[in-house]
């Protein structure tokens, strides 16, 4: 399918079937694109039927390119989103999943569109979001606690990646990142040194939980009243809850407001207090510090991976290739953080 009108026509046909009323696509605008998945903002209107009226939606679909390691398929992401919605987590309401190739050729799903700001650089800086920044640490803590309470088996999420048998979530995550690093065939002594420390100090986690896997500023929708929703669930997996609590503290995810350890918007303590008050586990600072270091390692490898997607010819993107020169930021952070732990 090549044209926008063809896309619209097929979507209207599908939506008319699922809404039970003739549905028109009023507008369609691409939000993000990539080699493996796309997001579109779609405005529709259903005439008659139980869904009569206007709907502001987001369409997420696979592009058929190389799926990133460990990322959920669109169908799995839809099921994950549904489980989160049913568990009372603040997420975009999932609406319809389509796996029939006759519609848009690839699996896709539709969810309600959240209003607000999601760009990290803006969330940490906009004067109009000052009150939101004050509220966010507590709100994020509460949502993290709800996410970690979801029972993956009861919710039918047996497809979620899980730690290898006889291996902690930390060790499993490290092995995957280390394998990825090795495949690039480039030496990165700072990363290799960090890897030795991470392997030697990996904490155990006797009761892993469902973790979001990319919980941070950048993956939350924010309005003047604070949190509107948590999105981008494609890295959800079974793991150490500390991973989700430390990842939003990784320096890169402070978007230049580095003094505010939680995502450039607030204090880690407020986030953790709210997490525990909402029923989350109390986590030792040592374990959180570990996972922040592990997060920097993961993102460093992620930067190299993104650069390689361009360098290998898989995509054409000056933005992705430039990430290869940002790896050094994570390398410096790793050396600093590990040294500080060792000389404590």
């Amino acid at each position: 399918m090549t044209t926008l009108t063809e896309f619209q026509k097929r979507l209207e046909h599908f939506l008319s079937a699922v809404t039970g009323g003739t549905t028109r696509v009023l507008a369609a605008r691409q939000l993000t694109g990539g080699a493996s998945r796309e997001s579109w903002a779609i405005d529709v209107e259903a005439e008659g039927g139980p869904e009569a009226g206007k709907h502001a939606l987001v369409l997420r679909r696979d592009m058929g390119g190389t799926i990133q390691q460990e990322a959920l398929s669109r169908e799995q992401e839809f099921r994950m989103l549904t489980a989160a919605w049913q568990a009372g987590v603040m997420v975009p309401r999932p609406r319809w999943l389509c796996t029939a190739p006759a519609v848009l050729e690839v699996p896709f799903f539709l969810m309600d569109r959240l209003e607000g700001e999601s760009v990290g650089r803006r969330i940490v800086r906009e004067p109009g979001l000052a009150e939101a920044r004050r509220l966010l640490p507590r709100q994020m803590g509460e949502q993290a606690a709800r996410i970690h309470k979801i029972d993956p088996l009861k919710a039918g999420l047996d497809f979620l990646p899980a730690p290898e048998p006889d291996s902690s979530p930390a060790q499993t995550g490290l092995r995957r990142a280390a394998d990825q690093l090795e495949r690039f065939g480039e030496p990165h002594p700072a990363l290799e040194l960090a890897l030795r420390w991470l392997q030697a100090n990996a904490p155990n986690c006797p009761s892993p939980v469902l973790v979001h896997g990319d919980f941070r500023i950048g993956n939350v929708m924010v309005g003047p009243d604070g949190l509107h929703g948590v999105f981008d669930w494609e890295f959800a997996h079974i793991g150490d809850p500390a991973e989700d609590l430390a990842w939003p503290c990784v320096r890169s995810w402070r978007f230049g407001q580095d003094a505010l350890r939680l995502g450039g918007i607030g204090r880690r303590e407020d986030f953790l207090d709210a997490y525990v008050k909402a029923g989350g586990r109390s986590i030792e600072p040592r374990v959180l510090d570990y996972w922040e270091i592990a997060g920097n390692f993961r993102w460093a490898v992620g930067c190299i991976a993104q650069a390689h997607r361009h360098l290998s010819g898989q995509v054409q993107s000056v933005e992705l290739v430039s990430l290869g020169r940002r790896t050094a930021e994570m390398e410096l952070e790793l050396l600093d953080l590990i040294e500080r732990v060792l000389v404590q």
Binding site: P189, L193, R196, W197, A200, R325, R326, A328, L332, L335
Partner: protein
């Protein structure tokens, strides 16, 4: 030899065009962002050209010392690049084999690597590096 403008001057001219003439006209947020990235990429390339040889020489000397090698710095840039890459490979092997696991050796290597990584950041993002250095100084 090629005539002027030299490589650095070519890149600077392209970068200045983007920054001063094109970017101010762009209203589409995504296009503007991508073009800013492109201009920044050119700035990195300029800094890289200006410092590559000197930085490689320093890295060569540091890595030779770490690896206990007594070799002389090559004159040719291509040999210098290849040589530093090979030393990094050797260092990587040593690290993964556990040669630096003992705490004082680990910390020693940490500090050496910090110098090398900061050199990379002087090229890739000098403003970011300056911010990290101020933060570090404030912590003392």
């Amino acid at each position: 030899m090629n005539d002027r403008p030299n490589t650095a001057e070519l890149i600077a001219a392209a970068r200045l065009y983007l920054e001063q003439e094109l970017i101010p006209t762009l209203t589409d947020a995504r296009l503007r962002f991508q073009t800013l990235v492109a201009a920044n990429v050119l700035a990195i390339a300029e800094r890289d050209l200006a410092t590559e040889e000197a930085h490689l020489v320093e890295e060569w000397r540091q890595l030779s010392k770490l690896l206990n090698l007594a070799d002389t710095v090559p004159e040719q840039l291509s040999a210098l690049r290849q040589g530093v890459l090979e030393k990094n490979r050797l260092l990587r092997q040593g690290i993964l084999a556990g040669d630096f696991d003992e705490q004082s050796r680990f910390l020693g290597l940490c500090r050496q690597l910090r110098t090398i990584v900061e050199r990379k950041l002087e090229v890739a993002n000098p403003r970011y590096l300056a911010g990290i250095r101020s933060e570090r100084a404030a912590r003392q």
